[in-house]
Amino acid sequence: MSDKKVNEQNQMSGAAMVVRALKDHGVKHIFGYPGGAVLPIYDEIFQQSDVEHILVRHEQGAGHAAEGYARSTGLPGVVLVTSGPGATNMVTPLTDALMDSIPLVCITGQVPTHLIGNDAFQECDTVGITRPCTKHNWLVRDVEDLPRVLHEAFYVATTGRPGPVVVDIPKDVQFALGQYQPPRKSDVHVSYAPRVKGDALQIRKAVSLLAGAKRPVIYTGGGVINSGREGAKLLRELVQATGFPITSTLMGLGAYPASGPNWLGMLGMHGTYEANMAMHGCDVMLCIGARFDDRITGRTDAFSPGSKKIHIDIDPSSINKNIRVDIPIIGDAANVMGDLLQVFKAEAKKPDIKPWWNQIAQWKARNSLAYKQSNEVILPQHAIQMLFEMTRGKDTYITTEVGQHQMWAAQFYGFEEPHRWMTSGGLGTMGYGLPAALGVQVAHPDSLVIDIAGDASVQMTMQEISTAVQFELPIKIFILNNQYMGMVRQWQQLLHGNRLSHSYSEALPDFVKLADAYGAHGIQATKPSDLEGAIKEMIQVKKPVLFDCRVAALENCFPMIPSGKAHNEMLLPAEATDEATAKAFAGGKALV
């Protein structure tokens, strides 16, 4: 084809460029909601079939759906919303994606260029509002800049430490004609060059530290998941080669299989006793793609006091932010692990850490996840264990909302593979799980997608059940219904004198009838003996399901590191008597 002909073919409107760029970046699905300032783009979407649009019921739902899509596939999630309220409703998912390092490309409509700054209808300062909650954002004032910005947006969102980006496109730019340019290498922002490869000398130092370890622990996070399938594979090899115990943050679950012999369970505030004690007592800590978050460290001045710390992270600002480390290695988790493994295999051998494993076995024997079973009421922990047993071996993806149910899901559902677990870790967004499940189901139409939910969280984005019905997405919403904001209540009990200020949900809807009203399938279980049959029904029904699982109302989530305490001061369920709890929470007069 002649250059002239190519040029003529590439002459198109800004709106057409958006859809063309989506195709060029391999986007198959987008989540969105139309409105005045994006109508030209919606018109283009209408006239093609390569990119499927999923119509949500609220823009926040689109954002979380795109997050679920991204986390379960490793691909960027794409959102299309209108100006003003469309954009402001995206603020929560954008912030959520920024905190959890999820690649999102959000395209927002904007009022026409000449009206910007005039308080026009549905105008807001989208780039101003989303500046602190995106990795980067752009307002495109000239259609000639649009192709470059769109390509750059995908590049920035998906490389380095992934994150959300916003491209704000005024309506006149969507109508304007311009020359489309397909993605090229030169679109890369000159000032943006994330570092992927770790420093060889630092890696060598790390290996010699690992080889001499007596009480080592590997502590991993979402960075391993974000480094792709290769990351999880290399992590497993690394654990195998070193023989070290491994724990993970909430974000990193599934990178190492929960059934693996070296698995200690999750660490942190509601992590297992053995994981936290190993963190506290280790002499060498290898942190891979985690950021020493405050839910992980407990009190920072007593965090793992006797250890040398190695920290692998792609983001230099994660190094020494909360905890001083001895050997920082900047780079992509998979890339660095690959190099580390090579050096370790060539120059070191598995250190003998048998006494350490014996110590860990003693901690494990404390059985920190124990709970009192009942024949009368369903214990939430038991419900999740049942759910796990009955979905084991199936092609299952789990999302969650935020609160007690989320912690129980992390504790009791065993994840064997990465990208199977979608939860709002950093921001802690109630209402995340239902729309996230939508996104996962769109990406994996034949898989079993379950949102482990709470009765309070699920009501925040409940309207998206309608989306699930419309697009025949058979997501399963497994609600652990205790009629409370359980985690809020737990803190009120522990820290605020048992004054349960506004944490009880009066006037809960009848979830079974609600499912009916939406055209979904409703199930209720009230007794432990109901559970097996009800879960079976949930799995078999080929429709979206709202599962109202009535659980023990006052059950609390243990074990727990009380605030202001260190890893070795955990409160175990067996010891969480009224007196012990009151003592553990300095300043809290509360009794459980």
């Binding site: 430490r161 920072t300 230099p316 600002s317």
Partner: protein, 180 residues
């Protein structure tokens, strides 16, 4: 150890604060200054002084000079947080790099007659400040120097009829042949 009821660990940090001058080269694109300032306000960092101007018009590069205070850990964070912003090319800590020259320009308006007026002019000469505007009862002095020198000059002008001050904030550059 006794902290109030909180879901967070409330830590007292006692590390002493340091003052650092950072030079930040950025792509001169819309909103870049808002990004940098937003980072400081959003993460609770201090800005003592901030100076910004385009320095390489052809390449659309601007130079932002920021004087900030914080514990060594916070200063390190600030540098990394700035460096990871997409339009930031480079961040150089002029304070740890050493041998940097810092200058500020101030215009100082002083009103008075008789002895105070003569005294202000005499002091201006001693500080190598230039008179850039004069009336029968006022001067505007232009003075350049490091922050301490300008502070000192302004202090001396106070009893002599200081009316107002306009300062540019700090600009900094390293000594020797190397660029940043």
């Amino acid at each position: 150890m006794n902290q109030p009821a909180s879901a967070y660990f409330l830590e007292d940090r006692h590390d002493p604060n340091e003052t650092h001058t950072l030079s930040v080269l950025v792509a001169n694109e819309p909103g870049v200054l808002a990004r940098v300032i937003g980072l400081f306000s959003g993460r609770g960092y201090n800005i003592e002084s901030l100076t910004v101007s385009e320095t390489e018009h052809q390449k659309h590069v601007s130079r932002i000079t920021i004087v900030t205070t914080g514990t060594p850990m916070v200063i390190e964070q600030i540098k990394h947080q700035l460096d990871r912003m997409i339009p930031v090319y480079r961040v150089v800590d002029m304070t740890t790099a050493g041998r940097a020259i810092e200058r500020e320009l101030a215009m100082v308006k002083v009103r008075g007659t008789g002895d105070p007026r003569v005294e202000s002019l005499r002091l201006a000469e001693a500080f190598r400040a230039r008179v850039i505007d004069a009336s029968t009862e006022s001067f505007v002095f232009e003075i350049t120097g490091n922050t301490a020198k300008i502070d000192q000059f302004i202090d001396l002008m106070k009893p002599l009829g200081l009316v107002e001050v306009s300062r540019t904030g700090v600009a900094a550059i390293s000594r020797g042949p190397e660029g940043m």
